[in-house]
Symmetry: C2
Subunit: 231 residues, 2 copies
DNA sequence: TCGTTATTCCACTAAACCATGGATTACTGG
DNA sequence: CCAGTAATCCATGGTTTAGTGGAATAACGA
């Protein structure tokens, strides 16, 4: 094997990581794992995939070194292999957004932005930044609301945030102080949950704003994170 | 199309970028493009690929938004779409290196590190960092040597560096002051050229060190870059 | 207008990949 | 040791991708 062959072998190794990132479904799995570890079945459910398919995708990610596993009783928990993987995932989205106009279209379509006649459409220019939030939280003038599924909240959330998964939000409006501004966040830049939640809250006459970042971005910025069920 | 379909559509867009990075040959092309723009034929030559194949790969990169094209007379010049693409490329290598042990093996095999009995094997612990170099260059105590092909040097190099492509190095040793330390650099962390050059120089009794970074890393650190033929 | 040159497009083959369902393995708890 | 559960492995069929050589374009220069 000459130089050429050795060079190809090296680059083929790098390509293994690229290949792992080259499937929408696998990226969805990474997106979920960025919120915290999960079992295979739970991932299959959340990503709307068959069990065998999910397992196969996870194997691919594992061979690429992007995830690691941990056994607990009968279940196997998958987890991102490190913060660098989250950075990589984040960067791929940034690059796609920057250079592919179709991404912006797909984003708007998915998040329900600018759909004519939809009450509760969100004006993105009015969103709050993490810096703003840290100031407000200091002053205690806002309620911070985490609308992700319970276990993702438990795995890590913004200190002081209240946990109400979107599905339960309609029934639990009474838990929110009606006079306070509510700042809602979810998984990340391309997650629907906060958009949905802001829609519901505004239709109920509450003042709600979306945080311009989700747990993914929050963590990557090294901002403070609490875990466990204590608010 | 429901939410699910829209979500898949969005992630499939992100995956387009991943797919583009999922081929060793395409990564080699990106590696070359990170040194500056090039024509299709020149890329085909350098990457040891057929012309049609190269063109097809470049189309894939273009559809993913990673490269842009510029026409000049009869040639088409390809170029990375932005610095974010170089970052993405760099990060994929960092992640692969961090989590896949096979990468280290392939790297050593390709760069010829630790091969028993090879004279001129490089000790990586003795390499110079960019910070070191900036200090030495200030003091004028070292010769900085760029061993990449001429046109890559022209497209951008470390200020004050001398250009001698590895192929010509054996014949041009006389141009180097024999009493000065020579610091050699090339494309980046996984490029052979500097390793080869250090070997040649040491065998000729000169004091040579490899710079612990190539043009790729140098640029990403926003360190100063000169272009054109003036040294 | 007519070659020339650089690149892309096309048709085709071989290989790799994705999803799926059923069989198999690995561990747990009685 | 046996039953039960969670995950992986395997065989399959349908789709996409990589490489190749030859035809088609597009811009230039006489």
């Amino acid at each position: 094997m000459g130089d050429r062959g050795k060079k190809s072998a090296l680059f083929e190794q790098f390509a293994l990581v690229g290949k792992a990132l080259g499937s929408g479904k696998r990226l969805e799995l990474i997106d979920l794992l960025a919120q915290g570890e999960r079992t295979v079945e739970s991932l299959a459910d959340a990503a709307d995939l068959g069990l065998s398919t999910t397992s196969a995708h996870l194997q691919t990610l594992k061979r690429a070194g992007l995830v690691i596993t941990r056994r607990e009783r009968t279940r196997i928990h998958y987890e991102l292999a490190g913060e660098d993987v989250a950075w990589l995932y984040s960067l791929i989205r940034v690059v796609a957004q920057a250079h592919l106009s179709e991404v912006e279209q797909a984003r708007r379509a998915y998040l329900g932005i600018d759909e004519p006649g939809t009450a509760g459409t969100v004006d993105e220019r009015q969103e709050m930044t993490p810096e703003d939030l840290l100031v407000c939280a200091e002053a205690g003038t806002v309620t911070v609301l985490d609308v992700r599924p319970r276990h993702e909240y438990t795995a890590g959330h913004i200190p002081g945030a209240l946990s109400i998964p979107v599905g339960e939000l309609g029934d639990r409006l009474s838990e929110l102080a009606p006079d306070r501004e509510i700042v809602v966040y979810c998984r990340g830049a391309y997650c629907v949950l906060a958009y949905e939640a802001v829609g519901i809250l505004r239709q109920s006459g509450l003042r709600a704003t979306r945080l311009n970042a989700g747990m993914l971005e929050w963590r990557l910025e090294n901002l403070p994170v609490s875990s466990g069920t204590a608010a």
